[in-house]
């Protein structure tokens, strides 16, 4: 069955420390993968996407993600967290058709 799993519902990091948000997917082929961010009372904003080009994808605001086919993972990272990074992050997959399938989300809290 095709699915997407975000392993952590809540991650807290101190400002200036690295961020790691984990995402795994289950699929019989390589899907298109995305990370979206949702700030409070705002819409869903695209951070980055993977569509079978380079496996290391750079996005906005210093975020990047690496597609690892052998591990079926697409973890999101940032070297140094900023207070403005506090938000809900969604790992999203397109399994070949029109619709996007969302993970359950990870709430990122930044500790001053």
């Amino acid at each position: 069955a095709q699915s997407v799993t975000q392993l952590d519902s809540h991650v807290s990091v101190s400002e200036g420390t690295p961020v790691l948000l984990r995402c795994n997917y289950s699929s019989s082929y390589s899907p298109s993968l995305f990370w979206y961010v949702q700030h409070p009372n705002k819409g869903l904003q695209l951070l980055l996407k993977y569509t079978s080009a380079a496996t290391l994808v750079k996005g906005i605001n210093g975020f990047e993600a690496e597609f690892k086919k052998s591990e079926t993972s697409f973890h999101l990272t940032k070297p140094s967290a900023h207070m403005s990074d506090a938000a809900e992050y969604f790992c999203v997959v397109r399994f070949g058709n029109e619709k996007l399938t969302f993970g359950t989300g990870t709430r990122l809290t930044i500790i001053p």
């Binding site: 298109s32 995305f34 979206y36 009372n41 705002k42 819409g43 869903l44 904003q45 695209l46 996407k49 569509t51 079978s52 969604f90 397109r94 058709n97 029109e98 619709k99 996007l100 399938t101 969302f102 993970g103 359950t104 989300g105």
Partner: protein
Amino acid sequence: EPEVTQTPSHQVTQMGQEVILRCVPISNHLYFYWYRQILGQKVEFLVSFYNNEISEKSEIFDDQFSVERPDGSNFTLKIRSTKLEDSAMYFCASRLTGLASLDTQYFGPGTRLTVL
């Protein structure tokens, strides 16, 4: 930068009433979508729309739901007779024509629907 807009931001209605949620997609986009997020749950796909037709819909999108592009700019979601369980945040999205594998869906800010 162009963006998807949605109105209203918050809609409160009585159970059994009809509601229409409105979206203005990015102007040159041709593919349109509705998703919803019930409080505390995942964002779920409802329907996709292209060339004045539904191209894909989920099990959630039953006969109570309909979509329409009444003019060149608006894209609407109608719920004919609302139920308590329709309370959710509804997101509209659009994308440019082209290969689905290379294209990005751009989301609006959402409409929070509360059914009493």
